[in-house]
């Protein structure tokens, strides 16, 4: 699903170069639930941004679902993002002026679905996250956990192949975090590949595979399940 080779990402600001990723390589298979961990500034979010086509890498090769994204135009990348990817952010990033229904509607509008299909999909995903009753509410009228569930519904509405989550439970209390996590696991079991950045070792433990990034490189690709349990 995600295959990266020799990826590097350099930020230039005020004559200073920062290497967020260097010679980065990873292969995420279809249907995997991969957590990404690492210290602050290690390059986790840069990796997720590049994987999610939100940023371009400085060099290297990236195949998303077999498509080499390096040569794509803005329009093609946007289209690919819309069709294959779903995003869940730490800060939820719902559009405050739109209702729950309208927020979930946003990616479907860009896809060009008919009105009937959009409605069907929105109703379906809102039922999936248990927020059917809230569809006319504005984000400010919801709790943090509910907002994140709306964001998940929005990410799922377009039936993405790959879900990218950046600390999705970072702003939530334990109880809410657990609900969100269970929801993600259910989604994964239904066949969607998930890449999730997290600080929480417990969450990392629950995934099938954990990728640890240090200084812009993958430091360890082994399953840390057993060692962490032992430690």
């Amino acid at each position: 699903m995600v295959r990266m080779k020799n990826i590097s990402k350099v930020y230039r600001a005020h004559m200073i170069e920062t290497h967020a990723l260097r010679d980065f390589a990873i292969h995420v298979k279809e249907g995997e639930f991969v957590t990404v961990t690492g210290p602050s500034g290690s390059g986790k979010t840069s990796f997720l941004s590049i994987a999610g086509l939100l940023e371009e890498s400085s060099s290297g090769e990236y195949l998303l679902d077999g498509v080499n994204v390096g040569q794509l135009s803005d329009k093609e990348r946007s289209h690919l993002r819309n069709e294959k990817l779903g995003f869940i952010f730490q800060g939820f990033n719902l559009i405050p002026d739109l209702t729950v229904f309208e927020n979930v509607d946003v990616p479907l509008r860009y896809r060009g679905f008919s009105r009937a299909e959009r409605k069907e999909r929105i109703d379906h995903v809102l039922a999936q996250v248990g927020l059917t009753a809230r569809k006319a509410h504005f984000p400010s009228e919801l709790s943090g956990g509910q907002q994140q569930r709306v964001a998940i519904a929005r990410a799922l509405a377009g039936s993405p192949r790959l879900l990218l989550a950046d600390e999705p439970t970072g702003n939530l209390d334990t109880q809410m975090a657990r609900t969100v996590m269970e929801l993600l696991e259910k989604i994964n079991q239904a066949g969607t590949t998930i890449l999730m950045v997290t600080h929480d070792p417990e969450l990392a433990l629950r995934s099938q595979r954990n990728v640890h990034i240090v200084d812009g490189q993958v430091s360890d690709l082994v399953r840390r399940h057993s060692s962490l349990v032992a430690g």
Binding site: E55, E83, Q90, G91, N93, D97, P107, R109, D166
Partner: protein, 443 residues
Amino acid sequence: MFFYYFKIGLHNLRRNPVLTALMVLTLAVGIAASISTLTILRMMSQDPIPQKSERLLVPIIDNSDPSKYIPADRTGSHLLNYRDSVNFLDRHWATNRTAIYTIRRGLQFHPIGNNAATELITVDGIATTNSYFAMFDVPFAFGAAWSAEDEKNHAKVAVINSQTASKLVGSQSPVGKVIQLGSDEYRIVGVVGKWNPVPRYTNVLLNDDEFAGEDQIYIPFQTAIANRIDPFAGFFDCSGAVPAAGFDGWLSTNCTWIQFWFEVESTQKIAQLKSQINEYTAQEQQYGRFQRRAENKLLNVMQWLDYLELVDSSYKISTGLSFAFLALCTVNTIGLLLAKFSSRSTEVGVRRALGASKLDIFSQFLIETLVIGLAGGLLGVVLSYSALWIISQQTKQFMVVAQMDVKMLLIAFVFSVLASVLAGLFPIWRACQITPAIQLKSQ
């Protein structure tokens, strides 16, 4: 997608009401200033008779004293003297021709069966030929122009305007009624209907009322001359000798006081008419006239209005200034749009992440800007109407020219939308440059 963006645009007008109100108001004030001045300028300089303005011609010939010539002075006069007018009328050049001079008479009306006359009113008008009404497409409410027979017989007949008619007989037809004009009795043969060319171009009217004035009475030129009716003061051009005393002085003088018009069948006939006039002035030179040998000219209606300088250059300057003001408003709107859009960079980031291309973002913000432009145009039209109403209350002249038509209304909307799009280009471009990743990380 258009209606989706349009809905979002409408929705977002309410999102930041103060900023939105400021933008709409800024655009509206700029539109109102430019549209109201442009309306007045346009009405003042419009073609009053577009269907034949190129075929109606005023002769400009120069029969003034060569010794009185001041260098750089305009040569020629737009008026003719009596001799040339009669000669031009008699020669039957072109399709049609008319001579006009201004008169002012006292008018009284004697209703039949009632010996008491109405009170004496003063009427301003013209002595002209019956061809006048056909040449300038003058409509009649009642009756018609006098006949060629009337002209030949120097019949005492008159055409009056609707306003004067209603003063005399209300809404009835006054045709056939007799009025006392000066010391003579005239029979009314026609009433001019609604005829309101702006500007008034057929002759220079009294009181400088080129935009609102109206002739109240029309009598046959030949009758006026036969009855020795003096031209009303002010409208003559003397370079040299003062006319001899009395009406015969007017007929023999070289001073010019008669407005003359030709109507040609087509613009191809203008050259022929010009050579006929050239031949005429060359002949007259034998009698010691036209000694300046200035070029004879024929001005069509628009050239004639230009010649009269009806549109004060200050109107042009104020129109220019009002457009500069609109430009200033547009620049101001750029700042306000920047503020409005930059507060929504998160939304842009999210939309980009969810699959919006730069073009999608561009379209969305452009349509939002158009919504603001339309709202500004709507308020601008309301303000323009108010401004024009206030202006029209100042003078009778402004009452006529401060009128907005459908075309100006559309122009107002087009200007407003253009101004908003122009103001929006930079802020929209900036919004499109937002890279989703950076924006979302800062959350």
